[in-house]
């Protein structure tokens, strides 16, 4: 499918799509008001589970990736039960600690290769596979967005007491959203592991978290497409900049994060934006009204 691209571009494409998945993992939890900073840790979890199952147990890559995603999801489900009773800032802090403990435990264990990590993972994930996975995840998110559950999740983000009051089972939805966030993060980590040959705990660091967070926040919590657009655009800009000094990277991500939070705390894709676009599409009511107004003005 992507044979017209040179191998390097294909490799870059896969890492872009892995970032897209990580952003979606943050989005899934954030759309119902859970700011989860654990995704990077879950990604590490998925990556190491998948790589170890493939190299030590001889599982096929596809099966290992699925197992990696499920392992991260299970971890999120179990620990979600413990920390999801927290609110706001405490949840952010608790999930941050959870993610970091995941990475530190991996760095401390011997069968995961410690700080060196794992070298020599077969590269069996190409751009086509990654693209198919991303498209499937996006399609599922769109189905969720249009469903009753999706509306319930968005209501919880705006005010979870009101949502609970109108009959939304908020604790269960939070738990499953957190678990889904874990599955997607694990999937991202596992796909990444099978495309980069080598993984180490050090790559799942604060820098990666900041980058993903910047993309997810710019994308906003209303619709998944915001995060996807932000991840692709920022990723491509960074590719074009090439190997840049840490200062440039700091200005790009740190500066963007601050500016967006100050000026557009809802991100680029929010309800008003979508309504505005819908109102101005050709054939929509807004456009017809505008044309009618113009015609009547011209007739006078």
């Amino acid at each position: 499918m992507f044979n017209w691209l040179d191998p390097y571009s294909q490799f870059v494409g896969v890492s872009l799509l892995v970032n897209v998945l990580l952003v979606l993992s943050l989005f899934v939890a954030f759309q119902c008001g859970v700011l989860s900073l654990a995704s990077v840790g879950f990604a590490a979890d998925g990556a190491f589970t998948a790589a170890l199952l493939n190299m030590k147990e001889g599982w096929s890559p596809a099966l290992s990736i699925a197992a990696g995603a499920l392992a991260a999801g299970l971890l999120a489900l179990v620990f979600g039960r413990l920390i999801l009773h927290l609110r706001g800032i405490y949840l952010a802090l608790g999930s941050f600690a959870l993610g970091q403990v995941c990475v530190l435990v991996i760095a401390d264990l011997s069968f995961t290769g410690g700080n060196q990590g794992i070298i020599g993972i077969p590269t069996s994930v190409g751009l086509t596979t990654a693209a198919v996975v991303v498209v499937v995840v996006c399609a599922l998110l769109q189905i969720l967005h249009q469903s009753r559950t999706g509306r319930a999740l968005r209501a919880m983000r705006l005010d979870d007491r009101v949502a609970a009051g109108v009959g939304v089972n908020t604790p269960a939805y939070r738990a499953w959203a957190f678990a889904a966030s874990g599955v997607i993060a694990g999937l991202a980590g596992a796909l990444g592991a099978f495309s980069t040959v080598t993984i180490s705990p050090g790559q799942y660091d604060f820098t990666l978290l900041v980058q993903i967070l910047a993309m997810a926040m710019i994308g906003g919590a209303y619709h998944w497409s915001g995060g996807v657009i932000a991840a692709l655009v920022i990723g491509i800009i960074q590719q074009d900049l090439g190997q840049v000094a840490p200062l440039v990277q700091g200005l790009l991500y740190g500066g963007l994060l601050v500016v967006v939070m100050m000026l557009l705390p809802e991100g680029i894709v929010d309800r008003r934006g979508i309504r505005w676009i819908r109102g101005h599409l050709p054939g929509s009511r807004g456009t017809r009204q505008a044309i009618a107004a113009l015609q009547s003005a011209g007739g006078q």
């Binding site: 009773h85 609110r87 608790g94 600690a97 401390d108 200062l247 991500y253 601050v258 705390p265």
Partner: protein, 291 residues
């Protein structure tokens, strides 16, 4: 064992300073400031630059504290004050301070070429006092003394002076305080400055002990600071002191008896355990928001 306990108390006292810095901002401004780690790094670098320029050690420490404090005030006056006026959500504030932290850290990384620099511990007191079988480095005594002076000073300020009382009023209710004629903005600025200065002095004590500093040194201590206040209860001054001592002892014992690498994880594990078991911390009052 006794030796380890003394090491732990000395480390815990500096951790308590970190906790006090964070708890002060949380108590007054209700902001979880992820840029706090940068106040540690930048303050300590300020001190380092001053020492390298031949400034006497006590003045260098004061310069470092001023750098940390001023940086905190600048961050607060630009980003956080603006977002407070716009009534941004708690999440937006947290994410913005994460952005500030990353920005400041990459500036420090750029200026130091990502190198680990030696921190001139020979300029600090480096003798050892023998008490029976126990050896106490003078550096540890200095850290302890600094921590004690800071804590007593902070307690006196909060409880006896007019501005200290004003600060406590503001932390209770900003609008009531303003009705009573308190200038909340200058009180905010004072609290933020002290918080940054505490970060800097704690960082200087710890880096003088380890004799190294790099652009990312403060990030590890940010986790420690958060662990201390989660342990002690957010916004509680006594909790920050006790939490700091417990964490210092826990970390020294883990390093001595379990493993060195595992001690990094102690801060995170403490945060997780306390949030799971008792989210209000040891001294925190129950808040409806947290559970």
């Amino acid at each position: 064992m006794l030796q380890q306990t003394i090491n732990g108390i000395a480390l815990g006292a500096t951790y308590a300073l970190l906790g006090l810095g964070v708890t002060l901002i949380w108590g007054v401004l209700r902001v979880m400031n992820f840029a706090f780690g940068q106040f540690i790094t930048w303050g300590a670098f300020g001190c380092l630059v001053a020492i390298e320029d031949g400034v006497p050690i006590w003045l260098s420490v004061l310069i470092g504290m001023a750098v940390g404090g001023l940086l905190a005030v600048v961050v607060d006056a630009t980003v956080i004050a603006y977002m407070r006026r716009r009534r941004s959500s708690e999440f937006a504030l947290v994410v913005a301070t994460i952005g500030v932290s990353y920005l400041l850290s990459s500036i420090a990384q750029d200026r130091t070429d990502s190198q680990i620099r030696p921190f001139p511990s020979q300029d600090f007191p480096d003798g050892v006092i023998n008490l029976g079988s126990v050896q106490i480095p003078e550096l540890q005594l200095m850290s302890l003394a600094i921590a004690a002076v800071m804590m007593v000073g902070l307690a006196l300020w909060l409880n006896t002076t007019k501005s200290g009382r004003a600060l406590r009023t503001v932390s209770w209710s900003v609008s009531t305080a303003e009705l009573l004629g308190v200038r909340s903005r200058s009180i905010f600025a004072i609290a933020v400055f002290i918080s940054g200065a505490l970060a800097a002095i704690a960082g200087i004590c710890i880096f003088a002990e380890t004799a190294t500093i790099s652009y990312s040194s403060g990030d590890a201590l940010l986790v420690v600071a958060f662990a201390v206040i989660v342990l002690g209860g957010m916004g509680s001054v006594a909790g920050a002191v006790i939490g700091g001592l417990i964490l210092g002892l826990a970390q020294v014992y883990t390093t001595a008896y379990i493993s060195n690498t595992f001690s990094q994880a102690v801060g995170y594990i403490v945060i997780l355990l306390i949030l799971i078991v008792r989210p209000s911390g040891i001294f925190g009052s129950q808040e409806e928001q947290r559970v």
